[in-house]
Symmetry: C2
Subunit: 429 residues, 2 copies
Amino acid sequence: MEERGKLAREAGIKLAATDTKTRNQALLAIAKGLETHKAEILAANEADLKRSQAENLAAPLLKRLVFNEVKINDVIDGINSLVELNDPLGATKLATELDQGLDLYKVTCPIGVIGVIFESRPDAFVQISTLCLKSGNSVLLKGGREALETNRMLCKVIEDATLSAGIPKGFIQNLESRDEVNAMLALDNYIDLIIPRGSNEFVQYIMNHSNIPVMGHADGICHVFVDDDAQIPMAIDLIVDSKTQYVAACNTLETLLVHESVAKDLLPPLKKALEAKNVHLKGDAKVLKIIDIEAATEEDWKTEYLDYILSIKIVPDLISAINHINTYGSGHTDVIITNDNEAVKTFMTLVDSAGVFHNCSTRFSDGFRFGFGAEVGISTSKLHARGPVGLDGLLSYKYKLLGHGQCVSDYASGQSHFTHQPKNTDCPV
Amino acid sequence: MEERGKLAREAGIKLAATDTKTRNQALLAIAKGLETHKAEILAANEADLKRSQAENLAAPLLKRLVFNEVKINDVIDGINSLVELNDPLGATKLATELDQGLDLYKVTCPIGVIGVIFESRPDAFVQISTLCLKSGNSVLLKGGREALETNRMLCKVIEDATLSAGIPKGFIQNLESRDEVNAMLALDNYIDLIIPRGSNEFVQYIMNHSNIPVMGHADGICHVFVDDDAQIPMAIDLIVDSKTQYVAACNTLETLLVHESVAKDLLPPLKKALEAKNVHLKGDAKVLKIIDIEAATEEDWKTEYLDYILSIKIVPDLISAINHINTYGSGHTDVIITNDNEAVKTFMTLVDSAGVFHNCSTRFSDGFRFGFGAEVGISTSKLHARGPVGLDGLLSYKYKLLGHGQCVSDYASGQSHFTHQPKNTDCPV
């Protein structure tokens, strides 16, 4: 693995120097490769599906493992959209004249080498590797073992396509075993960032077993708060969508907070709507006075169910709702349903989460829905990238300073003086 | 400490909601407070100096500990400049219409609570706390124990001034013991970021003893590469400045790389110039053939001397210089001296460092010189902030999504469609 890490780093440095056209042509070559090798990819996926069925993989997981013609076409469409996006590299983010003939530029560059560990979804393999290619990063991928054959084939197609387009060897590497993952976690000399996608426990395990920075989300305990002047039918629709549209996702609603003045109007029809979707409800003492459901415990407010379960709490006011969210939430996505713009502003300012939404579903918290093309993951950290992470989260920057022999001693002695004037030009090199 | 951490977090959430005017008036109140309480501050500093002299503190450290009228006026000037800067909070970094009536905004916000551990320099206490105030972050400060009395007085002045200006209590907290620092490192529930300033060992210690993200630099092994067409007099001036202008700084030159075709012209006069400044030279075998100095070992290329020592290596070409820097460097600041623009471009693209400079001193790598007003530290990480860290490095962002009842199920079913149109408006809330 050490050799592979070194190769990835060397490839990453060369990749950072490739121009827009080379990286876009490599992306198009991948799209063409997927088209040309469709039959082999489908056969590999068929083998994965067959083996996983024999191993009694659960139906929703089998569904995610499927990589059929429709999905291949979807990822090809995704690659074409990625080609259309502006080059994220080499963008001048700040330009300052420090003194005459001494110009500072802050210019975007790749992070370097990124390790991604993800679920058994072959479309994710293509999305992640193409996002890394567009942003000039080398990538080490470890998909779920159920997708072994498909990922191996996809890696070969992507490697062949990118090599032919002039992308350095080693930019993409497919890991196939847990041993390789463990070896990767030790390569802090060569790998700049690990993105683990999976359960809270899994992300914690990765964080505890590597000195490499980790970008991920520990938990997705998302809230909806129904304020006192919310429209009840809209609230019911949004709660049902947030809870049931896809129950195993990190952006799914887990705890509902209800302003006490609307509880009596909201809770009975909401119970009906959620029970029709087989959602099991739990409530605090005040909720139980209005609808007959199971009592919630302190533990419920801290729980990410990832299941058809919803905990409900009645709060006296907006600030109590915000305090509950900041105490028990995970900083992922929280929604206020209200018609009061002042309440929206207060909620959005004080709730300390990556996503603060008004009158819409928690489920919009997603890189594709946000228009990022795709996402490599969702971050609940407040450093570097927060929320759904697309191309922008895969960038770093450099300060380029262009001088004509200036020494600091002349500024320290007062012989020269800084001008510190903003400039409107892009970095010339 | 747990209570203090909690108080800092609560203050941070309220501080995030303060407007530009409140934070700027609080900054002005600090400036006024420093003016009003000048005599008490000077007396406290006198006590620190007296005690440190009795403890035989080294002269350069005593010099940094001094907080006299000139330095007080300097920090007041710094605060006034900070007031002039645009509010870093609430800036809309991205606006996208996801669909009609469903608008996404990426808006800057504070990180939250920041812990800073720094050297015995009272001006740093004021700079760090005012940068945190401007950017809406709570801050826990632990300065060197030599500055105990001065920092205690400064904290009181800043706390009184900010409280009177409506900034929440607990925004600033002064730590005075190593036990408090150790307790702080455990508060990952309340503290979002630790910035340790100090030696490599110290930063490593902090990283190994906390789950809180750490921003800092592990090492400052900075290089100058003299290319084959460099102007020799300019090269000598820049090398002397980079090595000797302030020898204990992280942005000081440690290893000089010389293109073999200029070595004979450069090294003899350079030796003279550096030895006049009492710099001890070490060189590889090729260097020793030209000038009579100590032989360098493999260990030298990995060493941050922070002293009047310079290691010199002759390289056959630009790419060898770049490979040396990417192998032995610390990603801090590296300089190319050349007249060849193509070489500049290659160097700046391939050298994987926070600062890549052309024809100027390594010593420019500094927040004040970069025009950031001040810096809270220098980062050699490629995530979040890189290089000198000013206000921008103290920011995070939120995604605010403003809807009218939209559910994801309608987009999944194909009943609604994303438009993903860029918008030119700032977030209205």
